[in-house]
C-alpha cells in the first residue's frame, strides 16, 4: 500500500542507496556468479520497508519486538549473539548493512551472509554449495542464500521422506493383477 505523496521520494532514496552500494562495496575483484534466479523471496507487500519505516523512530535497543512477531517469535539465527540490526540497516530498511558499515541491497544479500559463513560463501561462489539447476557447462542457475534458507530461522526442518523401495518379495508379477500403475510421488515433470 503505497501512499501517493511518498512514492517519488521512496524511489529516489532507493536509487541513491543502490548507487552507493554498487560503487562502494569494495569487493570488485572477486568472481561473482553470472546467472541468478528471480529476486529475493519477500513476503507479499513487505517491500519497500521504508514505506513504514521512513517515518518511524529508530530504537536500537535489543528487545522483544511487538511488530513482525511471526519473525521475532521464530527467530533462531544465533539469537543470543544476534538481533535485527546486526543485518538490517536501522537508517534505511530497504538495504542491509555489512559489519564494516557498507550497505548492500537485498539482491546481494549473499555478501552479508558470507561475512560470517565464509567457507560456505567460498563454496557457493564456486557453485559447490547449494541446489544446482540449469546447464552444467552453460547457464548454471545460482540461488540467493535466502531462497533456500530462511534468514531468520535458517536451519532446514526435517521433512517427510518419499516412500521406501519395494522389498524383493513385494516385486511380483503385475501382468495379471490389473489395476492402475502406482504414480510417482513427485508427480510429473513440469
Amino acid at each position: 500500500m503505497i501512499r501517493p505523496a511518498r512514492q517519488p521520494l521512496t524511489v529516489l532514496l532507493y536509487l541513491a542507496t543502490a548507487l552507493v552500494v554498487l560503487r562502494g562495496t569494495g569487493t570488485a575483484t572477486e568472481e561473482l556468479p553470472t546467472f541468478f534466479v528471480p529476486p529475493p523471496p519477500f513476503s507479499e507487500g513487505i517491500f519497500p520497508c521504508s514505506e513504514c519505516h521512513a517515518d518511524m523512530e529508530v530504537n536500537q535497543k535489543p528487545r522483544e519486538l511487538t511488530e513482525h512477531t511471526e519473525i521475532a517469535k521464530s527467530f533462531k539465527h544465533s539469537p543470543q549473539q544476534r538481533w535485527c540490526f546486526d543485518c538490517h540497516n536501522p537508517d534505511n530498511r530497504d538495504v542491509l548493512r555489512l559489519a564494516n558499515g557498507d550497505l548492500v541491497t537485498f539482491e546481494e544479500s549473499y555478501k552479508l551472509c558470507g561475512q560470517c559463513h565464509g567457507t560456505i560463501y567460498r563454496d557457493w561462489k564456486a557453485g559447490v554449495h547449494g541446489k544446482r539447476t540449469g546447464e552444467w557447462n552453460g547457464k548454471k542457475l545460482y540461488r540467493l542464500c535466502v531462497q533456500c534458507h530462511n534468514p531468520h530461522n535458517p536451519r532446514f526442518k526435517a521433512i517427510a521422506p518419499m516412500p521406501p523401495p519395494d522389498t524383493p518379495l513385494l516385486i511380483h508379477n503385475q501382468k495379471h493383477s490389473g489395476g492402475s500403475i502406482r504414480k510417482n510421488p513427485l508427480g510429473k515433470i513440469e
Partner: protein
C-alpha cells in the same frame, strides 16, 4: 545312402525296445519333461519375475544346478586318467559310459543357462562373427567355448567308438587317443572356467577366493564318479556288460581322495573366515550359522557337511568301500552333499549379504523347481537313450548294416 537309413532304424529299434521297467522309466521322464516344458513356457510368457530371483540375488536355482552339473561333466576325466594314463584296464573298458554321461551333462548345462536368460531370443548375440562375443575378457564367453568344445569332443569320441564297434571294427587309437588325452585338460578347464566365472568377481568376496577353483574340481571329482558308480551297477544289471568290481572300487578310492581334499579345502575356508573374522565372514556365517536371524540355509549346509563327512569315511575305508550297500549309500550321500554345497550353498551366499549389505533369502519357486526337474529329466532321458544304444553295441548284440551285410 541306403545303409544309414537302415542303421538309423537299428538305432531307433534299440532305444525303443525294452522291458516294462524301461518303458516305465521313459514314461516317468517324459512326464517330468512335459511338466518342465509347460513351466518353462509359463516363464517365457510372464518373465523371470515368476522365479524368486531378484536384483539382490540375481542368480539362483538354475545357475546352482548348472554349476553342479558342470562338475559331473568334468568328472569323466576321473575315469579317463586311470584308463589312459595309467592303463588301468578295468576302467579302460568303461570309459565310454562316462563320456556319454558327460554328453548328457553338458546338454543339461546348456539348457540351464538357456532357461536362466532374460532374452533367449537374443542367444545369437554372444556368438563370435554372428554376434559380438566378448572374448577373452568375459568368462562367460570362455565358458561357452569350452563347454561346447567339450560336448563336441565327447560326442565325437564316444560316437566314433560306438560307430566303429557297431561295424565290428577296432577304433583307431591314432584318432581317438590324442582326443582323449586332450579331453583331460579340457575337462579340467571346463570346471576351472566355470569356477573362474564366480572367482573373478571382486564384488563378491565369498567367491573372490583363490580356493574356489580347487574346491570346484575336488567336489566335481566326488559327485560325477559317484553317479557313475551307481550307473555302472545298473548297467551291469540290465545288460550283459561285465564291469569288474575292481573298476568300481578303484573309482571309489579316487572319490575318497577327492572328498578328502574337498573337506580339507572346506576346513581351510572355515579357518580363514572365522579366524580372521573380517566383514567378509558374513556369507559363510549366513550359510552355517545364520545372519541377523536369517537361517534358511543353515540346516541344509550342516546336512551337506554331515553327508560329505560320512561319505568320506565310508569311501576311505576299504571295508565299507567294497561293500555294495555302504558304497551305494555313500554315493547317494555324496551326491546330495555336493549338490547342496555346490548348488545353493555356492551361488546364493555369493549374494548374501548383497553389495549394499542387504539380506534377501532366496528360495526357489515352484516354477523354478519344475523347470529344473524337467531339465534333469531331459538329461536323464538323453543319457538313457545313449546308453540304451551303447550297451548292446558294446556287448556285440547290435550291429550296423554295411555293404558287407549285417554283421553279428
Amino acid at each position: 545312402m541306403f545303409y544309414p537309413i537302415r542303421n538309423f532304424f537299428v538305432v531307433l529299434k534299440t532305444v525303443t525296445k525294452g522291458n516294462g521297467y524301461y518303458y516305465a522309466w521313459i514314461a516317468c521322464l517324459a512326464t517330468l519333461m512335459i511338466i518342465g516344458a509347460v513351466s518353462y513356457l509359463k516363464q517365457l510368457d510372464q518373465g523371470l519375475i515368476i522365479t524368486a530371483m531378484r536384483d539382490q540375488v540375481s542368480w539362483g536355482f538354475y545357475i546352482s544346478n548348472f554349476t553342479f552339473i558342470v562338475g559331473i561333466a568334468a568328472a569323466a576325466v576321473l575315469l579317463v586318467v586311470p584308463a589312459y594314463i595309467y592303463n588301468f584296464k578295468p576302467i579302460k573298458e568303461i570309459v565310454l559310459f562316462s563320456e556319454l554321461l558327460a554328453v548328457a551333462a553338458i546338454t543339461m548345462c546348456i539348457m540351464f543357462v538357456v532357461v536362466d536368460m532374460g532374452r533367449v531370443d537374443r542367444l545369437l548375440h554372444v556368438l563370435p562373427l554372428i554376434g559380438t562375443m566378448n572374448f577373452p575378457s568375459s568368462l562367460l564367453a570362455w565358458d561357452i567355448i569350452v563347454l561346447n568344445g567339450y560336448l563336441a569332443l565327447n560326442l565325437f569320441i564316444s560316437f566314433y567308438a560306438l560307430y566303429q564297434m557297431a561295424h565290428n571294427r577296432e577304433y583307431s587309437l591314432q584318432i581317438i587317443k590324442p582326443l582323449i588325452i586332450l579331453s583331460i585338460p579340457w575337462a579340467i578347464s571346463i570346471h576351472t572356467v566355470t569356477a573362474f566365472l564366480f572367482n573373478g568377481l571382486s564384488a563378491r568376496p565369498f567367491w573372490n577366493a583363490s580356493i574356489l577353483a580347487p574346491r570346484f574340481l575336488a567336489s566335481a571329482f566326488c559327485s560325477g564318479p559317484a553317479i557313475m558308480m551307481i550307473i555302472f551297477q545298473v548297467i551291469r544289471k540290465v545288460s550283459k556288460i561285465e564291469i569288474d568290481n575292481k573298476a568300481i572300487f578303484k573309482i571309489a578310492e579316487l572319490v575318497a581322495y577327492a572328498m578328502g581334499i574337498n573337506l580339507f579345502l572346506l576346513a581351510a575356508e572355515f579357518f580363514k573366515e572365522f579366524y580372521s573374522g573380517s566383514v567378509h565372514l558374513a556369507p559363510m556365517e549366513y550359510l552355517y550359522f545364520g545372519l541377523h536371524g536369517h537361517t534358511t540355509l543353515v540346516p541344509w549346509m550342516w546336512t551337506a557337511m554331515i553327508f560329505n563327512i560320512t561319505a568320506f569315511i565310508l569311501f576311505i575305508s576299504p571295508a565299507t568301500r567294497e561293500n555294495f550297500l555302504t558304497l551305494n549309500l555313500a554315493c547317494v550321500l555324496i551326491c546330495i552333499g555336493v549338490y547342496i554345497e555346490k548348488g545353493m550353498g555356492l551361488s546364493v551366499p555369493g549374494f548374501v549379504p548383497s553389495t549394499l549389505g542387504e539380506i534377501y533369502e532366496y528360495s526357489p519357486t515352484l516354477i523354478e523347481k519344475l523347470v529344473s526337474l524337467g531339465i534333469w529329466s531331459t538329461g536323464a532321458l538323453v543319457f538313457t537313450l545313449l546308453v540304451k544304444f551303447a550297451m548292446p553295441v558294446y556287448t556285440g548284440e547290435v550291429r550296423f548294416y554295411s555293404k558287407h551285410g549285417a554283421v553279428r
